[in-house]
Symmetry: C2
Subunit: 113 residues, 2 copies
């Protein structure tokens, strides 16, 4: 593992605009995967829900976003430092991300053994 992968800088080298979300895998071990996700105004299609077999814990590092859960009426707004724990198979979608500046997420995925 190089110094860069041991010490990634998540708020550096941000794309200014993107056709799709950019996902960079920062670490993968048998137990845990860590990703940086950069969104620029992306949102899920209204009928499209994430239904994941892994647990997810996500935190916004910069920008703003709103999460929507299939089982909850209110959306959850997230700014810098705000996190969400999304248990496996809790259906959710990204309702909105700020269109004017990139939204940088740190996302963890893991399965219970």
């Amino acid at each position: 593992m190089t110094r860069d992968t041991m010490h990634p800088r998540l708020l550096h080298d941000l794309p200014r605009s993107l056709d799709e979300e950019q996902i960079d895998e920062l670490l993968r071990t048998p137990s845990l995967r860590i990703e940086r996700i950069v969104s620029t105004g992306h949102a899920s299609a209204e009928s499209s829900w994430y239904d994941q077999s892994e647990h997810e814990w996500v935190i916004v590092l910069s920008g703003r976003a709103r999460l929507r859960y299939e089982d909850e009426d209110d959306e959850v707004e997230l700014g810098p430092g705000d996190a969400a724990f999304i248990p496996a198979h809790r259906k959710h979608q990204v309702a909105w991300t700020s269109p004017d500046a990139p939204t940088v997420w740190l996302a963890l995925f893991w399965s219970e053994s």
Copy 2:
């Protein structure tokens, strides 16, 4: 789990000064522990090394810090968005944290099964 623990806000409710580091456990599952650590100028004693049985992955959310590894001469400086993967039993210490503003860390700990 309440809405607060599902959606913690890590840059809110920061202490202005602390005698000791403040550690808040945000999530604990059989596989993974997530903590928020707030330091205000704290550093390890020079002869005191962390030697952990778990892997650690840490990211600075606000403030500044320097990490030192026993097996490396150069310190690693971390600002907002900068992370470090510290494999189990790699001896390390916190050489410095900014004394003027709190340094907020997100820290993950896990064991490989």
